[in-house]
Each structure stands twice: as structure tokens, then as C-alpha cells.
């Protein structure tokens, strides 16, 4: 006996109730449960759908789907960073390399001024505010999607809100470090000025890639990462 369309949808709801929020993770689990339920029905045809589903779910152990979710998140984190580096690397090849050099030189010149730390604190504050505004936007979009029962993909969520930890919190931490250490960059010597300039340049590029480039290319990246994305969009 095969599962009906309605029962498949029930399984999607079941996984959602067990903290699996993303469609790509749900899909694999739903197929697994469906296969197992069908096998259970071969041996015991009189068992109800719910009973067979619960028997199958128990096989995932005491933590239910948690191990699967954690492993999938780890895998996607790795993938997300790989995507970030793919775009960051572009900034170190021509023609973008010229912009990178300009940013680096500008930061280096800025660090020569005794009040440079105030500029950095100001820039970090702007970064935090920009991040908060973006986060609100993304949260709103996500809420609309949830209300419309649209399918959410793990990478989509990473691009939109979690950003693998590279969020405004990083800037808040940097803000704290710069303000509490009272660093005078202009007095730190040539070597450290180069190191600071390089680090700040890299942070600016990362900020741009994470907050602007990836959201812009989200559709393309989702199609590339989740083979089911295209299929679902066609439905």
C-alpha cells in the first residue's frame, strides 16, 4: 500500500512539529518515513497510518530528528562559508582588486590620524544600524512566507538572517574591543597599521558579500545548492 498525497502532507506537518523547519531537510525525512511506513504496512497491513508513523519515528532514537538537523546545519555552514569565500576571492582579482587596494590604502591613510579610532567606532555603529534595519526587513519577509505556508530552505535562512554568525554582533564586539582598549592606531607602528588595514579591508569586503552580494544572488545560489528548489518552484 502506498501513501496518499494527504498522508505525505501529514508527514511534512509531522516533521515541522518535531522542529524541522526547512523544506530541504523535511523532504528527505518525509521520504524516509514514507518508505518505512509502506514497509511496515507490508508486514502488518492493519496498522493505522499514525501508528506506523510513530513506530518509524521511534527508530530515530530519543533525540528524534535533532541529530539529522544538527548534521545538516553543520554541512550547510560549511557550504555557506565556501560560497562566501567564492565571492570574497573576486575582490582579490582584477578588476575588483583595484577597489580592494583603494579601500586598503584609504584605511591605511585614515589610521595615520590620532582620531582614527573614532572613525572606526563611527563606521562600526553605522554597520550595526544597517544590520538591524536589514534584519527587520528579512524577519518581516520570513513572517510573510510562513503565513503563506511558503517553503523555507536552510540556505535561504542563512543568507537572510543567521549569516553563519557574521552578524551585527561581530561589529558590537569589535566596537567594545576598540572602545575599551583605547587603541591609538596612529601610534601602533608600520607593521600593525598594515595588519589593521588588512583586517578592516577584509571585514568590509565580508560585510558587503554577506549583506548585499549573497542576498542579491540568493535565487541562483538556492538553485545551485538545493536540487529540489527548482522542482518545488515549478509546482
Amino acid at each position: 500500500m502506498k501513501l496518499t498525497e494527504h498522508q505525505i502532507n501529514e508527514l511534512y506537518i509531522f516533521t515541522r512539529k518535531h522542529y524541522v523547519y526547512h523544506y530541504d531537510v523535511q523532504t528527505e525525512l518525509v521520504d524516509h518515513l514514507a518508505n518505512d511506513i509502506e514497509r511496515i504496512w507490508i508486514a502488518s497491513p492493519k496498522i493505522s497510518f499514525e501508528e506506523a508513523r510513530d513506530t518509524s519515528f521511534k527508530k530515530f532514537g530519543v533525540f528524534g530528528f535533532m541529530d539529522v538537523i544538527t548534521a545538516k546545519q553543520k554541512q550547510m555552514n560549511k557550504r555557506y562559508w565556501k560560497i562566501i569565500w567564492r565571492f570574497v576571492k573576486e575582490w582579490f582579482t582584477l578588476p575588483k582588486l583595484l577597489i580592494t587596494i583603494t579601500i586598503f590604502m584609504s584605511v591605511y591613510i585614515l589610521l595615520q590620524f590620532p582620531i582614527s579610532s573614532y572613525f572606526i567606532l563611527g563606521a562600526l555603529s553605522i554597520g550595526v544600524i544597517a544590520e538591524i534595519v536589514m534584519l527587520f526587513k528579512v524577519r518581516k519577509q520570513r513572517k510573510v512566507k510562513e503565513e503563506n505556508n511558503e517553503k523555507l530552505f536552510l540556505l535561504e535562512d542563512m543568507i537572510g538572517s543567521t549569516k553563519n554568525g557574521y552578524t551585527g554582533l561581530v561589529f558590537i564586539n569589535l566596537f567594545n574591543i576598540v572602545s575599551t582598549s583605547r587603541l591609538d592606531f596612529s601610534d601602533s607602528g608600520f607593521f600593525w597599521q598594515l595588519v589593521f588595514s588588512g583586517t578592516i579591508t577584509l571585514l568590509i569586503i565580508l560585510f558587503n558579500v554577506v549583506n548585499y552580494v549573497l542576498p542579491e544572488k540568493a535565487q541562483e545560489l538556492l538553485e545551485e545548492t538545493h536540487p529540489e528548489y527548482k522542482l518545488v518552484k515549478k509546482l
Binding site: 502506498k2 521520504d31 541529530d67 536540487p227
Partner: protein, 112 residues
């Protein structure tokens, strides 16, 4: 089975080997195939299988294909080029391990 934990460290090698001989497989199929090949001796749990598959995918040893089968989507895994090479390495490692274990558990005695 009480000896399940002995197999634990070999799960990735088992998956790679299966995919090397079966082209593409989906999660549930892997659990059933292992059960069938080992005559029920080894039972890969769901909680261990998917994390292992996702890890192999993250390490670019596996590629994924999604196909609509009946009224649901099915995710198939298959070896990448790197995955095929890694399978050979892992199987060699496994052979070495088995040889060492054999020597440890049943040492050959010699009069030399």
C-alpha cells in the same frame, strides 16, 4: 545487536562502498541494503545514517539528485570524482585495519 558500536567508525566507508557498487541510492535504501547484505547483523540507525551522509556531502564526496517519485520527492546520493578516489583510500584503510585486528586477536605463531 550488541556489536553495533564496533561498526560505528566504519559507517562512512560502508556508505561509500555501497554507492561505489550501486551508482545512486537514497537514505532508506541504504539502511535496507546494509540489513540485507549483513543478514540483519548490522542495522544502520536513522539518527546515524543521515548525519554521516550530510558529512560526506559537506566534504564533497557525495553529490545529490532530487527526483519526484510518485507523490513525493526522493533525494539520491551518488559519488563525486573525489568520492570515488576516497572510497578506494577508505577501503584500503579498512583492509589494513582488519589485518591489524586479525593479528591482534588471532596472532600467527611461528617457530622462527
Amino acid at each position: 545487536m550488541s556489536n553495533q558500536r564496533l561498526y560505528k567508525g566504519s559507517l562512512q566507508t560502508i556508505i561509500l562502498k555501497l554507492l561505489a557498487t550501486n551508482d545512486r541510492m537514497y537514505g532508506y535504501e541504504i539502511t535496507q541494503k546494509v540489513k540485507e547484505l549483513t543478514k540483519g547483523q548490522l542495522n544502520i540507525t536513522e539518527g546515524a545514517l543521515y548525519p554521516a551522509l550530510h558529512k560526506l556531502e559537506a566534504n564533497e564526496l557525495l553529490d545529490v539528485e532530487v527526483v519526484k517519485v510518485g507523490n513525493r520527492f526522493r533525494k539520491y546520493y551518488k559519488l563525486t570524482k573525489t568520492g570515488s578516489k576516497e572510497t578506494i583510500n577508505k577501503l584500503e584503510e579498512m583492509q589494513e585495519f582488519l589485518k591489524t585486528m586479525q593479528e591482534l586477536v588471532c596472532p600467527k605463531f611461528s617457530l622462527e
